[in-house]
Symmetry: C2
C-alpha cells in the first residue's frame, strides 16, 4: 500500500459524509451506504489506489464501519471471498477533513495534492488532461468525493484544484458517487 505499481504518484481517494449538501443546498451529514464501501473498495484495488479513506464525524457510524470492516478483513470464517477482504483492507477511516490530510501526510511523508470533485461547473476547474499530468508527478494525489448532493464549498476551499465535472451525451450529470469514482479513476490511470 502507498506504492503505485506503475511508479507514478500514488493515489488516495476519500469519501466525505460531512460537510456535504442536500438537494436544497443545505449542509448535512449523510449516513454510510454499504455499497459505497464495497464498490469503491473494489475500484481502489482494481486501479491500484493506495488507500480508500472513509470520512465520517459520528462515533456510532464509525463503529458500524469498524464492524463491517472487521467482518470482511479479520473474520476467520471468510474463505469464500478472499479478494473482497483484500479490497476492504484498503479502507481506512477518520472523522474529519483535517485529520484526513494529516493522516495521509504522515503516511506519505509529504502533503498530497488535494483534488476535489463535483457535478457542478465552478470557476478555475482543472481538466482530466491536467489531472493526468498531476498523476505523472511524484507527489501523491488525493481525490475527494462527496456523498448526498456533493461536497460543501468548505471542502472545495481546502483543495489545490477542483476537477471539472464529468459530462456525457446529455444535460444529465447526476451519477452516483460510485459511478463517478469508477469513471474518474479509469480516466486518470488509463494510458
Amino acid at each position: 500500500m502507498g506504492v503505485n505499481p506503475k511508479a507514478m504518484a500514488s493515489i488516495h481517494i476519500a469519501l466525505i459524509h460531512h460537510p456535504v449538501l442536500n438537494k436544497a443546498g443545505e449542509q448535512i451529514c449523510s449516513s454510510l451506504t454499504n455499497l459505497d464501501i464495497h464498490d469503491i473498495a473494489r475500484l481502489a484495488l482494481f486501479y491500484g489506489v493506495a488507500n480508500y479513506w472513509i470520512v465520517h464525524p459520528q462515533p456510532e457510524q464509525q463503529k458500524l464501519l469498524t464492524t463491517i470492516l472487521d467482518f470482511w478483513t479479520t473474520s476467520k470464517d471468510l474463505p469464500y471471498n478472499p479478494s473482497r477482504s483484500e479490497a476492504l483492507g484498503l479502507i481506512k477511516h477518520t472523522h474529519n477533513f483535517d485529520s484526513l490530510i494529516d493522516n495521509i501526510t504522515t503516511q506519505e511523508a509529504t502533503r498530497p495534492t488535494i483534488i476535489t470533485t463535483t457535478a457542478r461547473t465552478m470557476p478555475k476547474q482543472i481538466s482530466f488532461h491536467d489531472l493526468k499530468a498531476l498523476h505523472q508527478s511524484p507527489r501523491p494525489l488525493l481525490l475527494v468525493f462527496g456523498t448526498a448532493y456533493g461536497l460543501d464549498d468548505e471542502i472545495h476551499t481546502r483543495a489545490d484544484h477542483i476537477l471539472a465535472p464529468l459530462t456525457g451525451a446529455g444535460d444529465y450529470n447526476h451519477l452516483s458517487v460510485r459511478s463517478a469514482v469508477a469513471v474518474i479513476l479509469d480516466r486518470v490511470t488509463s494510458g
Copy 2:
C-alpha cells in the same frame, strides 16, 4: 430514445439475471439488486443510451421491477427527483435473451451488433478500440452485462463479439457490474 445525440450508432445495454454463473461456475438465476436498477439507469441517461434492458425470467421478480419502475416513473407524488424518473424511464424489461434481441430488432428496425462482456480472458475478444470503431457504424450496439459471477457461455455464444476484460493496475478484476457499466460506457462514448 433510440436516437443518439452524437449521430453515431445508438447503444442499448442489457443486464442479464439468467443464465449467469455463481462462484463455482454453475448456472444460476440471480435476484434483482435495487442499486443495479438506479445506478445503471443514471449511467444510461448520462451517456445517451437508448434503453437499459433488464432481463429476468421469473414473473415475481418482473412484478417487483414493475412496481419499482411505476413508483419512479408514474407516481403523482414524485416532484422531489424528476431526473431520477427520467433515468428510470429508460428501463425496459423482458424475460429472456431471445425476446431481448427481438424487441431491440423491432424497435431499431435492424438487428443490433451484440457485444457481451466478461471479467475473463477468452478467445477472439475484441478491444475497446474495436468497440469504438463499431460505435461509428450506423448499426445499433447492444452491450450485454451479467450479474453474479458473470454471463454463462450460452450467452457469449450468441454474441457477435466478446469484449476484452477491463484491466487495472493489479491482478484484481472483479469490479461490480455497476462499475463495469460505468467504465465501459465512458470508454466507448469518449472522444
